[in-house]
Amino acid sequence: MITCKQLQKHYGKKEILTDVSFQIDEPKIIGLIGRNGVGKSTLLKIIAGHAKASKGYIEVVGQKPFQNLTVAANVIFIEDAMTFPAVLTLKEILESAKKFYAKFATDLAFKLLKFSNISEKNYHTQLSKGQKATFNLIYGIASRSAITLLDEPMNGMDEAIRNDMYRVILKDFIAYPRVIIISSHYLNEMEQLIEDILLLHKGKVALFAPVEEVQELAVKLVGQKGNVEPALDKYEVLATYENGPIFEAIVRKNDLPLPENVRMLSLSASDVCQVLTATEGGSIDDIYRKSEYGAEYL
């Protein structure tokens, strides 16, 4: 359904995506993860046909996506900035959607809108930030497009509605399996929902694997510095933290026996992704430790 090979995108001299390659063949929910500015939204825009790749190969539903009507009819791209005509009520927007999205579930959209306590008589411009995000997400899910792209769909929603919306995504996916790509900073919340993680780092795909595999990639070793540090030679160290007497090291998991007086803690996929995309400048602790004003801040 989606094939990307050595995809590149730059705006002027600024390189956003440098080498993105992946393939999605079957319906699944995928979490698109990466630091701010890494190119998540740009990648989604390219898949949706809203932006053109500078180099490389991309195929969506068997066609090149940029300005392609077949792709537009099979892909819905939901983002914060999505707007609707100011004179149309939410009811009119949902009713007219069926004319464009062949599988649009109008009844479901109205039910979800009612559940979310958003009046169908409202205008999109009258909605709060959270309500806009909720409506946009309902619109995207109800479209039942073969490929649903959700760019930070939960931004502005309160925790309760976020949880409800995660269930909506899951339930609707079970009822109508399709490719759903969710770009979000709330990976912890999404871990139960997504099957695969597509991790972008420095304009490239750093990782594209099932959530369970990502969770198994690394572990945290915790103990006294004197106990943990000597054992690190046997591991690939991804990050270290020092909090007073406690020393923590995040390392790639291997089958070696655990050193004495060292505890091994498993990590969430979110933690693993954070470590894999950590900046090269070290941690915040390092900044405070090295700062000439460190004492003042500490």
Partner: protein
């Protein structure tokens, strides 16, 4: 399991035109309100041809669409400009569209809007005549009416040309600020050099020539619009 939806370009454009008529219905109501106000304030663009009091007291009055026509051209230019603006065109990407179908459906929407303005202009003219009769209490004797299909078509085509120019200029503005500046300078020089001869060269002398050449200009403008829009990436911010 999901299946791939096939969509016909013609069907998509047709649905988009219908959607735009609904989504931008405020343009229709704006035209109507402005026309009613303008015709009422200007007395329907009426003028007196003469009057007599010796045998019977009579007043000869004419009503014309001239002032409404000039107003329509300006209004349609502004509507064309507005329709191409980012704030409006980004709304169009909440439905299934591409830059190509968006441009074509916008052109067809403007055709509908131009036909509506013609009907609105004639209707408001008749309303103003009716108001005039009721106000003066005169006995109205209809003398002649110089309406022709050619007049209607000219009115529609000229207003469509104005709308297309407005849309085109905005697309050029989005496409390249340098080209936009050059276009503005060119248009300024053209307007400054305006003469009847220049008008004749551009549009010809007869109604047929005006309609024909305006139609060619409209087609050329929309071809350029489609070409420029095809290269543009979609931005919703």
């Amino acid at each position: 399991m999901t299946s791939i939806v096939k969509v016909s370009t013609a069907r998509n454009i047709y649905e988009q035109v219908k959607w735009k008529c609904k989504a931008y219905s405020s343009m229709f109501s704006t035209v109507l309100i402005l026309y009613i106000l303008l015709t009422l304030l200007s007395g329907g663009g009426s003028g007196s041809l003469g009057m007599g009091r010796s045998f019977v007291s009579y007043r000869e009055q004419y009503y014309t669409l001239d002032s409404l026509f000039i107003f329509t051209v300006l209004t349609m230019f502004i509507f064309g400009w507005l329709l191409a603006s980012k704030s409006i065109s980004r709304d169009n990407f909440s439905i299934v569209t591409t830059s190509y179908t968006e441009a074509i459906s916008s052109a067809l929407f403007l055709v509908v809007l131009c036909i509506f303005t013609l009907v609105a202009a004639i209707s408001t003219l008749w309303i103003s005549i009716l108001v005039d009769i009721l106000r003066t209490g005169d006995l109205f004797i209809f003398h002649s009416m110089e309406y022709s299909l050619l007049t209607f078509i000219s009115f529609t085509v000229c207003s469509l040309l104005a709308a297309s120019i407005g849309y085109f200029i905005h697309v050029v503005f989005d496409f390249s600020k340098i080209v936009f500046a050059l276009l503005c300078v060119g248009m300024f020089l053209l307007i400054r050099q305006y003469t009847i001869e220049l008008w004749g060269i551009l549009f010809g002398g007869s109604a047929f020539q005006i309609i024909g050449r305006s139609t060619i200009y409209i087609i050329l403008l929309w071809l350029l619009i489609v070409l420029m829009r095809q290269r543009r990436e979609v931005t919703r911010t």
